[in-house]
Amino acid sequence: MSNIDPILLLSAIIIVSTPILLAAIGELVVERAGVLNLGVEGMMITGAVCGFVVATLSGSPWLGFAGAALGGALLSMIFGILTQLFLSNQVATGLALTLFGLGLSALLGQGYIGVKGPAVPDLYLPLLRDIPVLGPILFRHDIIVYLALAIVLGVWIFLNRTRAGRVLRAVGENHDAAHALGYKVVRVRLMAIAFGGACAGLGGAYLSLVRVPQWTEGMTAGAGWIALAIVVFASWRPGRLVLGAWLFGGATALQLALQASGGVQIPIEYLQMAPYLATILVLVILRAGRAPGSLGRPFHASS
């Protein structure tokens, strides 16, 4: 235990939690609009492969991230069109999207297994990076880490301080009433779904371009499901979402450090389970807040 460096550990938490945070903030917006998209895992892994392929071909990790966001958004539009225009069941369609995404990504990623992608440089923050303790923990990361936090802040401002955000919440809370007031329920929801897909795609690309960084099949390994759980744990509130993502990231980083230190004599599988158990435990202990009123209900402007 003594050979775990707390500064490295805290720094690792931020890296580990970023992809989940990205996917979760996207799903939070989708759910606040009243749509339950269980396809986060599929959109993440599609983003991971799209990001890796584009970055490798172009040599630019930034183009890779853009490609990942686009790939995730396009995949989410399959879900959007099926559930919003053809009124298919959201749960079944979301599950299908995950399975489809896993298969599609394996197909797209053929020939990229074991390839090394372009490196993502850390953002150079002069002065800040030299602060003792805080510098290495907070200010020596790549730009996507800060982008993720900026997106969370932006979503909070959007939902709580802007008219468009209020309309989105209204659509998620009571779509019949929103329709009666003249708001375009389906359009709002499609935009939210696309945003959720883009965020999930970014989160996936963070795994394949920064965290690992290479492409392997099934590399998201359930991160999308954790993102879904964290949205509920956070009671659909962006601030708590960050805490949830850091909690999961913390448990993951800690178990990785414990494995590496070799100081704990229990089977590795238990350590690997720990982050999931910790997240579920917290989810159960903290009473979840109220879900958006129209969450998961199909809407048709017929009444």
């Binding site: 209020r166 309309v167 919440r169 209204a170 009571n174 009433a177 929103a178 009666a180 007031l181 958006p292």
Partner: protein, 507 residues
Amino acid sequence: MTTPLLELSGLTKAYPGVVANSEVSFDIARGEVHALLGENGAGKSTLVKTIYGLVQPDTGQMRLDGKPFAPPEPRAARASGVAMVFQHFSLFDAMNVAENVALGMEEPPALNRLAQQIREVSNAYGLPLDPDRIVGDLSAGERQRVEIVRCLLQEPRLLIMDEPTSVLTPQEVNILFETLRKLRAEGVSILYISHKLEEIRTICDQATILRHGKVVGKCDPKTTAARDMAEQMVGATLSTPSRAGGRTGEVVLELTGLSAPAPRAFGTALRDIDLELRAGEVLGIGGVAGNGQDELAMALSGEMATAPGMIRFKGREIGREGVTARRHMGLLCAPEERMGHAAAPDMSLTENALLTAGPREDLVRHGFLRWGRAKGFAEKVIERFDVRTPGPGTAARALSGGNLQKFVIGREIMQRPEVLVVNQPTWGVDAAAAATIRQALLDLAEAGAALIVISQDLDELMEISDRFAALNGGTLSAPRPAQGLGIDEIGMMLGGAHDMAPAHGES
């Protein structure tokens, strides 16, 4: 008078299989409260949705201030000064009052400025509201205030109100009418949709009557008898419920010191209720909503257990018996809320028949459902009570309020109850259906059953009750013969603890 505010000419709208509006034409003058009357399904809702821009007419024109008016969406209608208060509130439970108001406005100011405006406007019109409260915590009357204030903040010239009083207590209705009068005095026109004729006679200046999507009559409701309007609405002569009357038999239901704590937050505790109910009589129970009506119905139906001796059915203590056991004995109950309490909205009428008629009509054997019998029973209810539906396979949700009410009341009556408790039997039901239901209740009493009818509608209670009692803060007044009971005496029975919320006092 100059040009009317709104002129409708030849509006027609057809849906597959049904013509909702056919050649509808009428005018609404400035500063006029105009009633739109009609039974459920007469086309009132489609017409107001057309005016509000939610529905586009197939043919016909509208003119606002003499200029062509064809709003493609509600936004455009609101911009032209048309505002609407919906029958099923278009509110968002998780948001506060100010946010809800802002969602209904084109150019909402910042929330704190808006909150100030809400306070000012709501007080000016006698509808006090706290802009910071979460809408989900408000009563039905307060929720309606939110809708009205949302409309008023946009300074409408035409305010459409779709069945505004169906969820209000009598006091709240009075407050609403004061507000409407104030608006009328300011020159706002109001299109008032209802099928409550007495209300229309109180508040409206003009009335247009719709039947099957067509205008069948126009009248001045102040000078036209309610009965004439009802007959135009229905297109047939109405018969007043009648019964030969008055023979009563043994005591079948006895309440002795019935007390129970409030079953939920904001509920009313029942306090020391004594009552004897005899076979063949109809006991009407009146009172302002929220004075223990729901709780009394729950205690009688068996949804809420009480001490065993507090309720006796033919001498047997049943306070602890559950709903099914009481149904077996012959004590049946039809609750107030049709959707979700009396009927499961997404289940078919046959399934809904099974839900309460299983024990008495032998529709379940050895744990298996007897679909054939259940369907037969549902068909009998549909036929006897003239429930307008394609058949027993239709989902309860698809029926109009009046038709579903006929079904859920009929379902209990057809089970030959010995004691039937009904709560608000004709709530939100049109005149013809209400008459059918009342007649069926009287026929049931005539056949020897004992009835408890809980209702907000005093006219209804006076029409069908043998004896009348009032609930007040969870206590029941001593029943008195309904025959010859004057309105003052009823008022005294209802009164007592209620302060009649003088919301208009300060303005």
